[in-house]
């Protein structure tokens, strides 16, 4: 089983393309990665250190995008989006394409405390008109998404996990990008949808249990905005769809799916599992934080068992 960082896989793809295309600019608000060190060294004219100033970073990106440059903005999840939300709104108002890389979503910075948690970024990104939201669950999907979006001119929010993740045993197909999801297991008894870190966790849990493997449909909804029409067929095949997300209960992946189900008048039931509306100062690691939100391995297994039997 291999492990790697999503951000490096994503940036490596951008770097490959940037070598061929001088119109690609990478803006960092003082946030790094080993892959970015190579980018900075080899393509200094295409790398801009914008200082720890997320608002100005996005304004600079707007200026570059007005000149038809392909811009990638990069800073820690809680700051690049929430601190600069109005700037993102302005880029949307002007219909300017850009790629916002958002590493460290959810409890990715568990050791840093609530100022660094990013448990509301999905809602904020969703509120940006015409945004496309991708949430990456392993480095293979990071490369796959990067390759597919770099040449497309749209407004993207790419949500990445901070940690090294298991590479999920899955070969991407061309249709996956169009769908915005991949079906990792295809059982008949229960449907589970997630993305990002929790999808990776769910894959590990299900992969280690033969009964789960054979009876669960596990969907990695790596693009949750817009949600593809084809997902409705999969949803209607199941009475229940359980959704897991590392965002607050006020807005998370299940909120988007519920809206999708209502809009399309689908006959299925969405069961959301997300974070409680509390500020948790417990400086005891991501798993402990998840445990208090009923999202530890043990509690996830209990939930699955409740619905699958």
């Amino acid at each position: 089983m291999s492990y790697s960082f999503q951000r490096d896989s994503f940036i490596n793809e951008i770097y490959k393309e940037a070598q061929k295309n001088k119109n690609i600019y990478f803006l960092s608000a003082d946030f790094g990665a080993p892959s970015l060190d190579i980018f900075r060294k080899k393509l200094p004219k295409q790398f801009i250190h914008t200082g720890i100033s997320e608002q100005n970073t996005i304004d600079i990106a707007i200026g570059l995008s007005l000149k038809n440059k392909i811009v990638v903005n990069y800073a820690m999840a809680p700051f690049i989006l929430s601190r600069a939300w109005e700037q993102h709104k302005i880029s949307s108002v002007m219909k300017l394409p850009m790629i916002n890389l958002i590493p460290g979503i959810g409890y990715g910075y568990a050791n840093a405390g609530p100022t660094h948690y990013s448990n509301e970024d999905l809602g904020l990104a969703n509120l940006i008109v015409n945004s496309n939201i991708y949430t990456i669950s392993d480095s293979k999907s990071a490369s796959f998404v990067a390759k597919n979006i770099i040449k497309k001119k749209s407004l993207y929010f790419i949500r990445l996990d901070r940690e090294k993740n298991h590479n999920i045993d899955y070969t991407f197909k061309n249709r996956d990008m169009k769908n915005g999801y991949r079906v990792i297991f295809n059982g008949k008894k229960l449907c589970i949808i997630s993305h990002g870190f929790l999808l990776n966790k769910l894959w590990r849990i299900i992969n280690n249990n033969k009964y789960f493997r054979e009876n669960i449909t596990l969907i990695d909804l790596f693009r949750c905005k817009p949600i593809s029409k084809s997902l409705s067929i999969l949803l209607e095949e199941h009475f229940h769809t359980i959704v897991f997300d590392e965002q607050y209960e006020m807005f998370n992946l299940s909120t988007l799916l519920l809206s999708y189900v209502n809009k399309n008048n689908l006959n299925t039931r969405i069961v959301g599992n997300a974070l409680n509306e509390i500020i948790d100062f417990g400086n005891d690691g991501r798993e402990a934080l998840l445990e208090r939100n009923n999202l530890s391995d043990k509690k996830i297994i209990a939930k699955i068992e409740k619905f699958i039997w």
Partner: protein
């Protein structure tokens, strides 16, 4: 350059703008009148490269978007906006002109309205310029109220660090914000020293005196250093019942007598 001629033509344009505001019953008169003379010198003095169908036009960002409609008469004069758009303003749904400019309007480079974005956006345009052969100028007018926005200072740091002297920064300093005088609400002074502390060359002039504005704009245009031109202005300038009145920020319902007085004073 015949400064008197520019002055005379400016007066006609100012009158036209206010006839239009009276007709459409909206506008931000106080801010337009404070920035008007600077904008008029920029366009009529041909400091801004602004022609029809050319890719070499300079950029112009009215960062204080509420005064952005002041550009329209000049863009019409340069055949960039059709004259019929001015005539049809607010007359039908297809009318493209708005009080706050947006980048769908020909000749308008940036959608503005929300304060504090102009210099950051200009930085992106200028950085992109650096790798190109044609060095376009990026003229940015910010209101002093935008100096309250942190993003403005973030951008100034960036502009200085990268020596983006192609960004031509003008501050419209009319000393008023919505709730009163800036120095009473939250002190901005000493603005000049603060900007000099950031490493900019700063000049401060009377923003209604054409004989001061035009030479300073020339200096700003030709400079290979990062510079800021602070223009001391009067909100509501040249209309006695609007001058230095914070209420002149928004369009107020005018009596027949006030309309008459406004147009009369603008003709003088």
């Amino acid at each position: 350059m015949n400064i008197n001629k520019i002055k005379q033509n400016s007066k006609k344009i100012k009158l036209e703008i206010f006839k239009k505001f009276i007709e459409i019953k909206e506008g931000h008169p106080g801010s337009i009148l404070s920035v008007f003379d600077i904008v008029s010198c920029l366009y009529l003095g041909k400091f801004i490269n602004s022609k029809k169908n050319t890719k070499n036009n300079d950029y112009f960002i009215m960062s204080k978007g509420h005064a952005g409609s002041v550009q329209y008469p000049y863009l019409i004069k340069n055949n960039i906006i059709k004259k019929s758009e001015w005539q049809n303003w607010k007359k039908n749904k297809k009318s493209i002109l708005k009080i706050f400019p947006n980048n769908k309007i020909p000749g308008v480079d940036v959608t503005s309205g929300s304060l504090g974005h102009g210099l950051g956006i200009a930085s992106g345009l200028a950085i992109s310029n650096q790798n190109e052969t044609t060095k376009k100028k990026i003229w940015v007018i910010i209101g002093e109220g935008e100096l309250y926005e942190g993003s403005t200072w973030e951008a100034l740091l960036f502009i200085k660090h990268h020596n983006l002297y192609n960004i031509k920064i003008i501050i419209d300093r009319n000393e008023l914000i919505i709730l009163g005088k800036t120095e009473n609400c939250l002190k901005l002074n000493p603005i000049k020293k603060k900007l000099e502390g950031f490493g900019f060359k700063v000049e401060q002039i009377d923003g209604h005196n054409y004989y001061k504005i035009i030479p300073s704009l020339k200096k700003l245009k030709d400079s290979k250093e990062t510079r800021v031109l602070i223009c001391n202005t009067i909100k509501g300038n040249s209309v006695s019942f609007m001058e230095n009145k914070r209420d002149s920020h928004y369009w107020q319902e005018l009596t027949k007598m006030k309309k008459k007085q406004l147009l009369k004073e603008l003709k003088i």
